[in-house]
Amino acid sequence: MRRVYLDNNATTPVLPEVLDAMRPYYAEHFGNASSIHHHGQETRGAVERARESVATLLGCRPAEVVFTSGGTEADNLAIFGLVQSGDHVITSTIEHHAVLNSCKHLHEKGVEVTFLPVDGRGLVDPDDLRRALRPNTKLVTIMFANNETGVIQPVEEFGKICAEADVYFHSDAVQAASKIPIRVKEIGCDLLSISGHKFNAPQGVGALYVRKGTTLDPLFFGGSHERSRRAGTENVPGIVGLGKAAELAVKALANGEDTEMASLRDRLERAILGSVESAGVNGAGAPRVPNTTNIYFDYIEGEALVITLDLKGLAVSTGAACSSGAIEPSHVLTAMGLLPDRARASIRFSLGKQNTSGDVDFATQLLPASVERLRELSPLYNRKSPVPS
């Protein structure tokens, strides 16, 4: 069966160039980057080259890049590394669970947390942020681009507000990195998280940008790795992969591949909306990353559509999976004001570098009949005309 993968916001395949770059660091150059001998020096060099590549991707200095096990650790390090009891934290209601649940945990431990709402397009109002600031506000953490809708927040405005108020600003840029240019100095953020596997590096590696002069308590205690910010022997092959993927992403952005991606996504959107009625784009009207579209198909259960499409070879997703793998109603779409039925009827399509226009055609050919079948069997669907049995 032909299988098409349009769930690249969940994870992406490792690019062949990335895998090639990583391969020598498993068996051939296996040294511990902290060792003083030849073997250690070899891998130390590779780690530092990767740090430079990531710094280029983010527009910062290499010394400001801390490698982590992924986006979740980077978010946790930023939040728990800064916030102490008595502090106030501001975040939004549409964050990834890595930020949202970290903030909820702080809240349960007695830290004051403000969860800013979003409008119907999924945007946080900078004025809301301004009004939420308090004398004891320590950290503002608002995501760069949303994983479910692709909606891009006005992070530069948030950065200005935080700088004026002398408050730390962290942004989870896991879904922005490689999709759109990121310049941390222009954003004016102090901390920014990225994750390797969202842009063709392997799973298990990520990084946190930490502006020079920012004091962070580590999450782990041990050796003095990563300038004592992240104890534990470096995941050298992963870090090398992340560096290579960052390098490729910089080139791709320079070549305008983001524009090509956007036109492929727009074609997908147009084809779907043109062939399925009672459907629409969530977050339309807001700036979005070029690879993501989140579409509601009224009168269906998104869960059933995802399963139907998977059985036919198309991988897409909906909401967030809970620990059992069951789908929970999306907190992002709910926060945007979607009624529960519509939130449950929404599907995310996210493109990746490997996707072709043929993949988009495959998806747009499958969808109308699949949606129609679900609607026929849906108790919610108020049919306009009786259908012969």
Binding site: A326, L374, L377
Partner: protein, 370 residues
């Protein structure tokens, strides 16, 4: 288009449904494994009187893990579908309401009617499977002479689950497979071993899935507290059959019909709970002899082997899961009312429980004792 060869298997993570999936797969069917996420075990965990989330129950992560492992082993696609909202609305809330009004509900039948054979069948059809197979011990057959789908007792009488399945409609039965209906439990385990299923020796589950440890009282407390609802006043009087007040009780939900212990009154002869009056919160007690009765009425009936009950019919009637079906005559006495007259008086007929009518192995239908 639905594919006649595609079948959804309701997988609970237990031996029975896992074996069903493996059997159908071995027959060359296109099997899709589905597990219903019905209740979040962690939701009430840790509240007062409630244990921490326990493994080995319906919807526990361990069961989903087991089901997923089976799906991987036999090579079928597998999905967990979330029906927590429906489960709470159609099973948990009615259970709580019934319990607080002094009846003894059986949530498994409600779950079968509203979730397993309704929602799950809908999902199955939506994803392209025409029917659902489960690990229930029961049989489905088509009766050509009457043109009706029949629900029949399984070969392994000790595992008979037809009591919980009396609510299935003709449409549901026509799309349901019970592949274990002709097998015994040891045979099923043997087959599970043969298919290399790691859970072949997993013990059977027993209690109500969302009530840990079978402790209803603590469950009700924790659930109502979570909902921000006050535990209603259920304490009241203990009265005799002639209306004499002989004491007080701590709450009607603490009693079931037929119960002897825990009445908190000392009298010469042993007293039994005869009746629980939800409206006046009275618990009627009396002699063992008063527990027996020959007649009862059922409502919310569902008939399976016959379209309607036009004339009185001789059947055997089961009034509890572990009850030996007893000979009786059923007759229609109202639009949705069936009067059951037993040949011999039955002990502790309990409102809220299901009564299921059998004609030999065939399930005629059933209803809820009112």
């Amino acid at each position: 288009m639905p594919d006649q060869n595609t079948i959804a298997v309701a997988m609970s993570g237990g031996v029975d449904s896992s074996t069903v999936a493996a059997m159908l797969r071995a027959e060359g069917r296109n099997v899709v494994g589905l597990t219903m996420q019905l209740w979040n075990q962690r939701r009430l965990a840790g509240r007062e009187g409630m244990p921490e989330a326990v493994a080995g129950r319906c919807c526990s992560l361990d069961d989903v893990y087991d089901a997923r492992r089976v799906a991987e082993t036999i090579g079928i696609p597998y999905y967990v579908v979330n029906h927590e909202d429906r489960f709470e609305r159609d099973v948990v809330r009615p259970f709580v309401k019934e319990y607080l009004s002094g009846r003894t509900p059986i949530p498994c039948s409600l779950c079968n009617n509203h979730l397993k054979f309704d929602q799950l069948l809908t999902v199955a059809r939506q994803i392209g499977a025409d029917s659902v197979a489960t690990g229930h011990y029961a049989r489905v057959e088509f009766d050509h002479s009457n043109e009706r789908w029949l629900l029949k007792r399984p070969t392994d009488r000790s595992k008979d689950q037809t009591y919980f399945l009396f609510g299935l409609t003709q449409e549901q039965l026509s799309r349901t497979l019970f592949p274990l209906g002709g097998m015994t439990k040891p045979e099923v385990r043997e087959l599970a071993r043969k298919y290399g299923l790691a859970l072949a020796e997993k013990p059977d589950s027993q209690e109500i899935c969302f009530v840990p440890g079978g402790d209803y009282k603590n469950f009700l407390d924790a659930y109502l507290a979570e909902q921000g609802e006050l535990f209603p006043e259920t304490a009241g009087e203990l009265v005799t059959t002639d209306g004499r007040i002989i004491g007080e009780h701590s709450g009607i939900h603490n009693f079931t019909v037929g119960q002897r212990k825990g009445l908190g009154v000392a009298t010469g002869s042993p007293l039994y709970v005869l009746q629980i009056k939800g409206d006046t919160r009275q618990v009627v007690v009396g002699d063992q002899a008063n527990l027996y009765s020959r007649t009862m009425v059922t409502r919310k009936n569902n008939l399976i082997s016959i379209e309607d009950l036009h004339q009185p019919m001789r059947v055997s009637v089961k009034i509890r899961h572990r009850h030996e079906a007893s000979p009786a005559t059923i007759e229609k006495t109202g639009d949705d009312e069936i009067r059951v007259t037993f040949d011999d008086p039955q002990r502790a007929i309990t409102p809220g429980q299901a009564a299921v009518f059998y004609d030999g192995d065939v399930v005629v239908g059933g209803g809820w004792i009112s």
